[in-house]
């Protein structure tokens, strides 16, 4: 089984009205995050209301650079989730986005051995992976 065959068996994001713009934008190769115009603050994961001002009226979507810094990461072995068990260990990173402190995304770090990943590494988003038609933003380490 190739890696790509394996990927299609992974849990596919179940888009909902709150999150659909995020996934659709990723499908066009653009990382957009939710933004509250009342609070001038990014929100991720997306919410139906801003958790600061409790309003839905200021919510917009803004393109971001896709760059950030690894705040933490783990190396998962023998995951019980479908599509992960047979492909060796995988890295999940918690990435703080460049645009705003304390706004985090989780994704895999591709193209690096787990032993080469470190807290503080700079990363950039990629759109190389899809699960059953949904592009899932991933990260690669950059210099």
């Amino acid at each position: 089984m190739s890696v790509q065959d394996d990927i299609v068996t992974r849990p596919r994001p179940e888009m909902d009205p709150t999150t659909t713009p995020y996934w659709e934008s990723a499908g066009h190769g653009v990382l957009t995050l939710q933004w509250c115009a009342h609070c001038s603050h990014f929100i991720h994961a997306p919410m139906s209301r801003c958790w600061r001002c409790h309003r839905s009226t200021g919510l917009e979507w803004r393109e971001v650079s896709g760059r950030g810094v690894i705040h933490s990461f783990i190396v998962i072995h023998n995951s019980r989730l479908p599509g992960f068990g047979g492909r060796g260990p995988h890295v999940v990173a918690m990435v703080e986005i460049e645009e705003q402190d304390h706004v985090f995304m989780f994704a895999n770090v591709l193209g690096a051995e787990p032993g080469d990943v470190a807290v503080g590494d700079r990363v950039e988003v990629t759109f190389d992976e899809t699960i059953d038609g949904i592009t899932i933003p991933q990260f690669r380490i950059i210099a």
Partner: protein
């Protein structure tokens, strides 16, 4: 002022394969606790549990026990976080004369039946649509993410986490009821264990266990011998306490930081008064972070604190002298509370902590949790 007491404790054998139904395990533990309190089933008018969709309900247990009219019953869905809150609410019901004797049980075939960490974690809907597609799902993985950050920020090491695992395994050697009694562990064994979610490895993780534990909560004067008072309890959930905690203020800060001031002020005590701590130890890192966030040491100094021997049975703060969830068995934290009662009664035999009069017990779900201070009077 008098507080409600824990009048009885009971348990089944802990094993990897009970060969019994969860209902049978629950009934066995409840009857043992009722007997320990010197009561009969007819005296019980409250039945409570907390669970993760892996157990039997209070109506099933009450029917099997043959209880009469119940005046109090709750079934709390959630992690270990709910434990001390569920017990505390039952204690409050007794204070208010809503009930006389409440049984709290936790029963599970956690090894041979429904394994913790499997329930719902492969879902990719709601908040999990940002986790499962990336192969990020289970409680150990979420704990590991916090642990790595702690290591990067404070210099915490695997060897320091290993001191927790090894100390508790040593404790289990003095506990004939522990699953790991007779199976010692060295720091080398710990370091060589297979990785699960690095930085956490197999021996950073609690056991998976079949068994049940129960306690009885009553007004004072129920049982002969020392009274074990519920001196104070508290529940707290930090802001944005939702997996995977991307909006939570600081992933290295666990629930005790949100409740410790209330807990100790309600008890009229300080951390220095705690003689023994039975902390929810789903993972070694959960112990380390709670020690810091309860204030037993400064934030970031949990590693040196545990490596100093402070948490050993003869240390400044004995932690989980029975072996805990790591080495006695995993009954979702309620077995840790039973150990606190046994220690305060002075019935812990070879593993007795000298002069144990005040115990801290906790239930953990990362940023959410509950805790209780028990005192012998």
């Amino acid at each position: 002022m008098t507080w409600p007491v824990i009048s009885g404790v009971g348990r089944t054998e802990f094993s990897r394969r009970s060969g019994k139904t969860v209902l049978d395990l629950a009934a066995e533990a409840c009857l043992a606790a009722i007997d320990d309190a010197g009561l009969s089933v007819e005296d019980v008018d409250g039945v409570v549990t907390y669970h993760d969709n892996d157990t039997v309900s209070p109506p099933e247990v009450a029917a099997t026990l043959g209880c009469g009219v119940l005046a109090w019953s709750q079934s709390l869905l959630g992690g270990g976080s709910e434990m001390c809150a569920g017990i505390g609410a039952a204690a409050r019901a007794i204070e208010e004369d809503r009930a006389r004797h409440v049984v709290v049980y936790r029963a599970m075939n956690g090894a041979s039946g429904i394994r913790m960490g499997n329930f719902g974690t492969s879902s990719a809907s709601g908040y999990r649509q940002f986790m499962a597609p990336y192969g990020y799902a289970t409680p150990v993985e979420v704990a590991a993410m916090a642990c790595r950050r702690h290591m990067a920020r404070f210099g915490t090491t695997r060897e320091q986490l290993g001191a927790i695992a090894v100390t508790q395994r040593e404790n289990a050697q003095l506990n004939p009821l522990a699953v790991m009694n007779g199976r010692g562990m060295t720091l080398d064994d710990y370091m060589d264990a297979r990785p699960i979610a690095e930085p956490l490895h197999l021996l950073d993780c609690c056991l998976e266990t079949d068994g049940a534990v129960a306690i009885v909560i009553s007004a004072p004067g129920t049982r002969a011998g020392p009274e074990i008072e519920i001196r104070a309890w508290a529940y707290a959930a930090g802001p944005q306490s939702l997996v995977p905690y991307e909006k939570y203020p600081d992933i290295t800060a666990m629930f005790p930081q949100w409740l410790r001031d209330d807990l100790f002020s309600r008890a009229g005590l300080t951390v220095d008064d705690v003689d023994v701590a039975c902390l929810y130890d789903a993972f070694t890192y959960a112990v380390l972070s709670q020690l810091e966030d309860f204030g037993f040491c400064k934030k970031g100094e949990g590693g040196p604190f545990v490596a100093s021997g402070a948490i050993a049975r003869d240390g400044v703060l004995p932690v989980n002298p029975h072996g805990g969830l790591l080495s006695e068995g995993y009954i979702h934290g309620l077995n840790n509370l039973v150990e606190a009662v046994v220690q305060l009664r002075g019935d812990a035999g070879e593993r007795q902590v000298a002069d144990a009069e005040v115990a801290l017990v906790s239930g953990y779900s990362f940023s959410r949790g509950s805790a209780m201070i028990l005192a012998r009077v």
